[in-house]
């Protein structure tokens, strides 16, 4: 085994609590298990602090009204209870930690924030979509991206239906305010996607795009999609280019 492979095992042990507790890891005796466990817990708290600080920043801005800064969950018994199950970067762990933050904020003084549920769904969605393995270096082009034949919705891409026009109020929450900024009540659908390099994008979504994403299963051809989504070929091409750019869609070889 190369030293690089040993380093990978070490990184996995620090990131993946179930692996860290497994005989497969323990029998290797690469490091003092007790000290490794302490460092892994430190890393987990740091990892999710960074994510809550970033993705739940609007709830953070509202904490002087709600009394519930989202990152406070990281020192709670509930988070400690999650530690033996966490795999840094995994979707399941992102769902669990974001869920704790949601519950924590919900328990505060929320009357002045009638759109709180929409906000929490948005923040939760952003954090979950960001999770998952990412591309750190350019490699050989993915053959699936080279052959533009059958579009497929990328796993994890999220469509979020909201009761209010949340994008209008988000920037206001981060500026100085005395009364809680309010969001216009208007059904709003957002698309949240992540590029292969891990960049999370949010876009307002038309019903045509939503339909396109629902149809893009890797089996339908471009002609099928254009017909079923009611888009002209040029519109379809342009829309797909944008969706590929933000990581919502890739092209399958169809094999």
């Amino acid at each position: 085994m190369s030293d690089r492979a040993v380093q990978d095992a070490l990184i996995r042990a620090l990131a993946d609590a179930p692996f860290r507790g497994s005989p497969a890891w323990r029998t290797r005796e690469l490091a003092n298990q007790e000290r490794l466990e302490r460092f892994a817990r430190f890393l987990a708290r740091h990892y999710y602090y960074e994510r809550l600080a970033h993705f739940f920043k609007y709830s953070r801005a509202l904490a002087r009204v709600t009394g519930r800064p989202p990152e406070a969950v990281l020192t709670s018994p509930a988070f400690d209870a999650l530690l033996p199950t966490l795999v840094l970067g995994s979707r399941a762990s992102a769902v669990a930690v974001a869920g704790l933050a949601q519950e924590h904020v919900r328990g505060g003084a929320t009357a002045a924030v009638p759109y709180l549920e929409d906000l929490l769904a948005y923040e939760h969605g952003m954090m979950v979509v960001e999770s998952g393995a990412r591309l750190w270096r350019d490699g050989s082009p993915d053959p699936a991206d080279q052959q533009r034949s059958k579009p497929v919705r990328v796993e994890g891409t999220m469509l979020l239906d909201l009761q209010v026009d949340l994008p209008l109020v988000l920037p206001l929450l981060l500026r100085p305010w005395t009364e809680v900024p309010q969001a216009p009540r208007r059904p709003t659908r957002l698309l949240i996607a992540r590029s292969r390099r891990g960049r999370v994008s949010v876009a307002r979504t038309s019903s045509a795009i939503a339909t396109l994403l629902e149809l893009a299963d890797g089996r339908k051809t471009m002609d099928d999609l254009a017909r079923e989504a009611g888009l002209r070929p040029a519109e379809l091409e342009a829309t797909l280019d944008e969706l590929v750019e933000i990581g919502a869609v890739r092209f399958s070889t169809g094999s």
């Binding site: 040993v6 620090l14 490091a31 000290r35 460092f39 840094l88 270096r137």
Partner: protein, 264 residues
Amino acid sequence: MGDLKVGAFYNPHLGEALAGASGIDHLAMADPPRGDDPWWPKIRERYTLLLHDYLGQLSEPLDEHAIQRARSLAELYKSPWVAEHFQCLHTENGTYNLNYVFPPLYTEEFLDRFAANASALQARLDQPLVMENIPGFFDVAASRLPEPVWLRRFFDRTNLGFLLDLPHIWLEAHYKGADPKVFLGEFPLERVVELHVAGVSEDRDLQGPWIAPTAPSDEMLDLMVHAVARCPNAKAVTFDAFSPTLSADVLFASVARIRKALRN
């Protein structure tokens, strides 16, 4: 010591205070400036800026995207040198990522990897590359060389500069039960271009001290003075704190204490 520049990290939430501050020679940039940062134009105009972003882990070659990003940030900041870390924090296939600095195994294989990849990055940069030491919290059985020996061989092979992070040295000495000044003496101090100084505080998970956005202790400042006297090529000392919880008072008081300790 009077020629040393003394600075801090740019913390965007302290942008207004930093834009109007005196007594700070330079700011290290850990993140690119945000598009909506109103203080960035003044900061850029006023300060010498040091590129200290995450460029990539040099256990693997940086790809063209990462190299172009490093080049454009160095140009944007007019950075006199570019910093990266001796770190290997994500698996080669990208599945696992610690999102925190973590050292490589100190082995011949990693020495070859870091020397080759750092030299390749240096060849693509217009500024000198300096490399920062990273602390280990526990020993790894597969590490074959002492860290100072590994670093010395790296710098001898590449001729790059050393960004000496003193709290990292202090922490390693603490957890080894060693005297920090004695441990420091094992490192290739003649290669040092910049020093980092910071505070430490007790961490509940580690059950001991770790780096924190707090002021450096008297002991840390004493270690800094000891180190600077042994780093003949050092050009700058930077208060290494970058956190939304860092207050302006702590930042300015820390820089002032560093200056006073250096009689700068």
